[in-house]
């Protein structure tokens, strides 16, 4: 089954390009550490999922590129072609000239309806190229105008046009300070709208990835390209082929469906966080060895303590004692910094992953009481090494990971809304104060739901 990627806005297009790059470079990688047959199987599954062979010499990414100004898309298209390993379909993009001005209302209420037909036509064409459509993967930032506003509108359209397909929104959380002044407004509006049409939101925070670049990757002058490459690596580690069942003979063909099934048991809880270890500069890889027990131990503690990366994990945090029947966060049995999960998915890639003991992730004390731990935890594996890492472990988690960032953003947006600052910019394009209030209410509900886990 194939995934159609929709790249929205500058951020979406820049990241989308890095994702396809990462996937392609993985496919052409030499340190695969598995049999030739295994590798071929993997590559075939990957190609079906993300690329279309057509008549061209290089694989064509299954993607639709959308932006309201032309520069980023033209750059993205040409960079892909220049790589020589893959490219985008020359017709599969849509852009305008004037941009969205960082205005969510402009993206959603003006550009959306105006260009709906053209954009959905492109999506339909890509969908038809797939033998079997596995769903949609949209990439956007919440902070700007196109990715966020137009992205929310397009997601709605996808839901209307493909009611039974899976839709996963990859959302970039902006830096806490210093990207866009109205980023909190745009974020609140985006999240509340996506929640209605999307199946799940997979979040990356710029601040977190920036730290990874600085502290783990040792990059001195961090650029957006560096940030995007780390994000692409993490996404690749989730979406490259895996076996989803023990003793499975074939690579799973329905990654989005599998993801939703394992991680999103209830529509109120759609926020997914992602962690991937190890993460280090490429030239250090040759000198490093890892053990699966070590990686699993770190990953589990990162989950429990809500650590954003491998360094600075708080090892003091422990899961609560079992048997305590009071589920609320006011309970003295649950230390407040403990991160409760609804469901977790661990993905292991590389040498000897068969022997890995994942029992610690099945500990019922990690989870809420309403799912069996057997159902709440899943593991996908492949012996095929990913992107030059001899061993790589990823965690996709539906837990309280994003509670604090969400609360932060809503708080700041509310603070600004109370003074009515910038509201006239939105009402100009048809988003009224009431729409803001509806969005705040919706998100407060999500925050409350996650808080009382």
């Amino acid at each position: 089954m194939s995934i159609v990627t929709v790249q929205l806005g500058q951020c979406g297009n820049q990241i989308g390009h890095e994702v396809f790059n990462a996937i392609c470079s993985d496919v052409h990688g030499t340190h695969v550490l598995c049999s030739k047959k295994e590798n071929e199987s993997y590559n075939d599954a990957c190609k079906e999922r993300f690329f279309c062979e057509e008549e061209s010499e290089v694989p064509v990414a299954r993607a639709v590129l959308v932006d309201m100004e032309p520069k980023v898309i033209s750059q993205t298209l040409s960079m892909a072609t220049r790589s020589g390993y893959w490219k985008y379909d020359d017709r599969s993009h849509f852009c305008q000239k004037q941009g969205s001005g960082n205005n969510w209302a402009n993206g959603y209420s003006v550009h959306g309806p105006k260009h709906k037909e053209v954009i959905m036509n492109l999506v339909q064409k890509e969908a038809e190229k797939c033998d079997r459509l596995g769903g949609f993967f949209t990439i956007m930032s919440m902070a700007g105008g196109t990715g966020s506003g137009l992205g929310a509108y397009v997601t709605q359209c996808l839901r209307d046009a493909f009611p039974t397909s899976f839709i996963l929104n990859h959302v970039i959380w902006p830096y806490g300070t210093g990207e866009i002044i109205v980023q909190n407004y745009n974020s609140v509006l985006t999240l509340s709208h996506l929640y209605q049409s999307s199946d799940a939101l997979l979040v990356h925070e710029n601040d977190v990835i920036h730290k990874i670049c600085a502290q783990l990757m040792n990059i001195k002058q961090i650029s957006f390209r560096d940030v995007n490459q780390v994000i692409a690596h993490q996404l690749g580690s989730v979406f490259q082929p895996t076996y989803t069942a023990e003793g499975g003979l074939h690579y799973s063909r329905n990654p989005l469906g599998d993801l939703m099934e394992t991680l999103v048991p209830h529509p109120e809880f759609k926020m997914l966080g992602l962690r991937n270890i190890p993460q280090m500069p490429e030239n250090s890889l040759a000198y490093s060895t890892f053990s699966w027990p070590g990686l699993i131990k770190h990953l589990r503690q990162m989950l429990i303590a809500n650590a954003k990366m491998e360094e600075g994990i708080d090892w003091q945090v422990r899961p609560p004692r079992l048997g305590s029947s009071i589920p609320s966060s006011y309970s003295t049995n649950k230390p407040l910094q403990f991160n409760t999960s609804i469901a977790n998915l661990v993905i292991l890639r590389g040498k000897d992953m068969h022997s890995v003991d994942l029992g610690s992730f099945r500990d019922p004390s990690l989870y809420t009481s309403w799912l069996n731990p057997q159902d709440a935890f899943n593991a996908w594996k492949t012996p095929r090494a990913f992107n030059k890492y001899e061993k790589s472990a990823s965690l996709v988690s539906n837990s309280q990971f994003l509670l604090k960032p969400l609360d932060n953003v809503v708080g700041k947006a509310w603070n600004m809304f109370a003074s009515k600052a910038y509201i006239h910019q939105y009402t100009k394009f048809g988003i009224e104060e009431e729409d803001f209030l509806d969005s705040f209410t919706a998100l407060e509900q999500v925050i409350s739901s996650y808080t009382i886990l």
């Binding site: 980023v72 305008q96 002044i181 910019q425």
Partner: protein
Amino acid sequence: MAQSVVVQGKGPWRPELLPAAPSPCLTCVSPSPLQWASAGTRWAAGSGTWRCGSTPPSTRSGGDGPDIYKGKICSLKARALLIDMEEGVVNEILQGPLRDVFDSKQLITDVSGSGNNWAVGHKLYGYQYRENIVEKLRKAAEHCDCLQCFFIIHSMGGGTGSGLGTFVLNLLEDEFPEVYRFVTSVYPSGEDDVITSPYNTVLAMKELNEHADCVLPIENESLFDIVNKIHQMINSGKLGSTVKQNSLVTSSAGSAKTVQEKPFDAMNNIVANLLLNLTSSARFEGSLNMDLNEISMNLVPFPRLHYLVSSLTPLCTLADVNVPSRRLDQMFSDAFSREHQLIQADPKHSLYLACALLVRGNVQVSDLRRNIERLKPSLHFVSWNQEGWKTGLCSVPPVGHSHSLLSLANNTCVKPTFIELKDRFMKLYKKKAHLHHYLHIDGMEQSCFSEAILSLSDLIEEYNELDATKGLS
């Protein structure tokens, strides 16, 4: 007083995007040229701008003198309208090195001038030339694939720029309501030799309050100080032989001139650079684009508070391309210093409502964030916008520099400028000095004055209210 309306289109900016058969009016020049009148009676052709600004990326390394560009400039026409009620300035431009860039169809001139009288410019000439202006605007707009905004460039203290200029502003709102209106206004100083400049300025301010999307106020005093500073640096030999003369923001002919010769040329070049940097992200690629409509969106929290204080750094080039981080950080610090602002104001000691930083060159997001973190503690932001930063990264630096920074601040430090203006106005108005020159123009009444000063007072009051919150955040 010369004034020009620049119709900013989003057509192909770079020569490689020119249509195969370039026709005179279809392509866009980057940037559109600027003609100035200072608050006095001097003017400048801004020809230096051209060398600084219009470098197409492909010839950037070539570097100096207009000759290299001539071949390209011939096929490019400015998307601009030049309007003046006397002919001297416009004629000089048409005979100067930029003559091929302008079409005679883009000019509107008269002979007698506006006599430093806002009413003559706004009511008399406005009425007289309305049709003509609308027609020419429409023509210019039709040539744009996608019209995004208008730049109005004028002075406030005289008659044409101030009066007719604000008339055109009104016109733009009527005829093109969806298109953003950016206004660059030169405010008169206290020692202005035009006695009635306070009247003209206040009358114009009312129009700016009500009809402009964004105003970038400029004061000649600040420009003069900056030019002086640069000349001091050259003359003191501080920069030594490492300074590339042609890349100085103020150089117009390759050699450093003393301040007395043609100061307005140099001063106008600074403003030209401001507009160059403002539009750089729309013209060139970058990892975080910042378009003009984003500036209005992020920096204008309430419709009337749309006055943005601007500053540009660095003012002179450093020959050393691999600038160590310290120098880069210095550039950020300078942007917030009093000496680099284009009006007489000190943003550091007033209240920020919002701030935008547009960086050009080899500067990455980590450099930007490091500096924001470093400078934030010394700046006061309004309580509902504590993280009120808008940032942009454009990969292409300006000519002769490895990087540059443009800062636009919505800050209450504009208040003193407005208060002084009000005081100067009241001094005259109380004695009814010179009022008859205005009132005898058809359409002018005493109420025009009282409404205008009320508009200014209200604006000052809004800034006062914000300042009052300063201690509480």
